[in-house]
Symmetry: C2
Subunit: 412 residues, 2 copies
């Protein structure tokens, strides 16, 4: 067996992680590796059961080409999504299928408890056999706030301060733990299995409790100097506006279009009692707008005015071919989307919308988990020691998978 | 002589084009090529006189390392800058020093005449000897408007329509011709010899006859789906504003902050006669503001209000570590820059300005020419046939350079 250069392994696995099935020549053209390197690497991976032959193609010259795919059970990942009011956990296989799921509530504004995250991870690991447990490769976490280089988390608006997330979990589970912002996770998920497969320039706009934009340009994340690119919540979209933002300024995008502020504007118009986390939710405001209740109609109108202005700026600065809308916006697709394209056009040059698609994310609640699993897979490939560990074990073919896909348990 | 793989040549020359002097081990670490590949490539380039040994370093182990640099006379480029009212031409050597320069006026609003561009290029080529002429590698052009894949140019606001620039010049000069937008040229120039050397995330804001932003993120250009990213002139920065833009909308950024519109706003306040291209220029408005003439002071105040708003959006979306301001803004550095940083801070989160530098470009009128020369050099490296041609000739060492740097001729 010739020595397998880590770079070859990384490139071949990265290519195979993007496609369902591939041939040797497709891998050569995607990785730019030469014929011998690809052959050696494929042989190495086939012998270990990390990839599988799943068919043949006949070429014009009459020769057969093997069709290969990742062995879905070659490895497992834990995906974790931390949100302001909810923690989500999943065990995924090597290709990101969710095998087991667990969720738990988080008290808004209280500090994050590492022991609750540990308990959640343990819940989804229960079904793995000893042998499968050895093939657990990494933990990927989608987490809001400011993420430090050393794996610490601070989200002041959520009451999370200097939580040493990565170091503690790495010690407890003896696994590499990778951490990423939800806007990046969303980008990964949409690129992997969502609307942005093969799209090189797009933005992912999430409007919910907060507002975030993931920027993907020229086939890469745009992170900026401090990985804060796309944190658009506090642009002063209405500099003369009176909406007071939690950051202390007025007229911020988040102070107008986020879910708590949609609710606030509706309450101000109606004199209604109650708070955002109380009985009435933002989806109820949209529902009342659909029934043409005047106060409820005016709120989405104002929200779209500023949302389209922000989107038109993003479109001008970045010239994407696709905008994906996610978060609570999804529940108001019928109210917000129909005129959005022409409204953006009215705020920019026609050339910018000529090739622009606007779509609502179809990934639902899975988006964070899929993104976190993708983070674990992709980052593991870039860490030689993790990559080696993933390829160390010979995977028993046709091994029993831990649970049927789709089965899940949700905490009430 | 072993076969030199084009990729090796490309990587080594690309690295050397970024640094003044380099050692073999610095090239290895920058290119990620192995020792043998780098040695072969350097030997090949040294034998042909394309790179030169210019010194030695002693390492800790007592061994000597050669220090090498590009031979400045190994090749020549023509740099061309097309502007709304001016054409600039330069002959540059292999490292971008301007050897000879020519300029000519363009009538604003009249179509671009290829024969005038040809005449300008011929002006700067006159001083090359026959031998040097053979080492002319490529022509780089910085040009506004919409640049088609086939090298055509359309800039409707300048009266330029479907001008087949690249194909015609390539036929006349039998040289590869590369075309790029001025915002990209500016980025290249600042990266090469300006304020952005080694900076991975920055934006270059040019305000003059039009407004353009070059976006560089994660060590790469951000172009977008149709290479229109950063064309920020027509974002509606004041949606309720009455400034009529040449695009037909109102409240566009360009309708407020571009030079003709700075002049327009001043004229409206003073009832002054005359037009932008007449006797009074935008620099005169700034000069009157310095003398505290009320109407003149109000105009820069309004300009900075909307400029800082646009910059705060850019900073939020892209999280750059540096903003470079260029164009006519340079002449008003004292009026615009002092409070710009705190004004941006007031429109965004403090974290975004913590690591943000704002500076005025120091490159003056050379910026476009340096950018076009860099375009020619970098693009030539990516075209195997041009690269081969550049390396085909053995360069006579200590060859006479065509003209002393700095000598130039400017048409009146």
């Amino acid at each position: 067996m010739p020595k397998i250069v880590e770079q070859w392994l990384q490139k071949v696995l990265d290519t195979m992680g993007h496609r369902t099935t591939v041939t040797r020549s497709q891998i050569m053209s995607a990785t730019k590796l030469n014929s011998a390197s690809v052959s050696h690497t494929l042989q190495f991976l086939l012998e270990r059961g990390i990839i599988l032959k799943v068919g043949e193609l006949q070429s014009k010259a009459g020769r057969h080409q093997d069709v290969m795919t990742l062995n879905p059970e070659a490895g497992y990942f834990v995906a974790v999504v931390l949100e302001s009011t909810r923690m989500r956990f999943a065990l995924t296989n090597f290709v990101g299928d969710i095998r087991y799921r667990w969720e738990a509530d988080v008290q808004l504004g209280q500090t994050l408890q590492i022991r609750e995250i540990v308990a959640g991870i343990e819940m989804v690991l229960r079904n793995l056999s000893e042998v499968q447990r050895l093939r657990l490769a990494a933990i990927g976490i989608s987490c809001p706030g400011i993420l430090s280089q050393s794996g610490g988390v601070t989200a002041l608006n959520l009451g999370w301060k200097n939580i040493s997330l990565t170091p503690e979990l790495e010690e407890i589970f003896s696994l590499p733990v990778y951490l990423e912002h939800p806007t990046h996770s969303a980008i990964r998920a949409e690129r992997w299995v969502g609307l942005a497969q093969g799209v090189r320039d797009f933005i992912d706009v999430m409007v919910g409790h907060v507002v975030g934009v993931g920027v993907f340009s020229n086939g890469r994340f745009v992170g900026g100097r401090d990985q804060m690119a796309g944190e658009v919540g506090h642009i002063r979209i209405d500099p003369d506006g009176s909406d007071v933002c939690r950051c202390g300024k007025t007229g911020c995008l988040e102070a107008i279009v986020s879910s708590p502020n949609i609710f606030r504007q509706y309450r101000a118009k109606t004199g209604l009692e109650g708070s955002y986390s109380g009985g009435l939710r933002v989806t109820d405001v949209f529902e009342r707008a659909r029934r043409h209740e005047t106060a409820a109609v005016e709120v989405p109108d104002r929200v779209t005015r500023y949302l389209r202005l922000a989107l038109s700026y993003l479109v001008n600065f970045l010239n994407p071919e696709l905008i994906i809308l996610g978060g609570d916006l999804i529940t108001a697709e019928d109210l917000l989307l129909p005129s959005l394209r022409e409204q953006i056009a009215a705020n920019t040059l026609p050339d910018f919308v000529k090739n622009l698609n606007i779509a609502v994310s179809r990934m639902g609640l899975d988006i964070g988990l899929k993104g976190a699993a993708s983070l674990a897979f992709r980052t593991a490939l870039n860490h030689p020691e993790v990559l080696k560990n993933m390829c160390r074990l010979v995977v028993e073919l046709h091994s029993h998978s831990p649970a049927v896909e789709g089965s899940s348990s949700v905490a009430s």
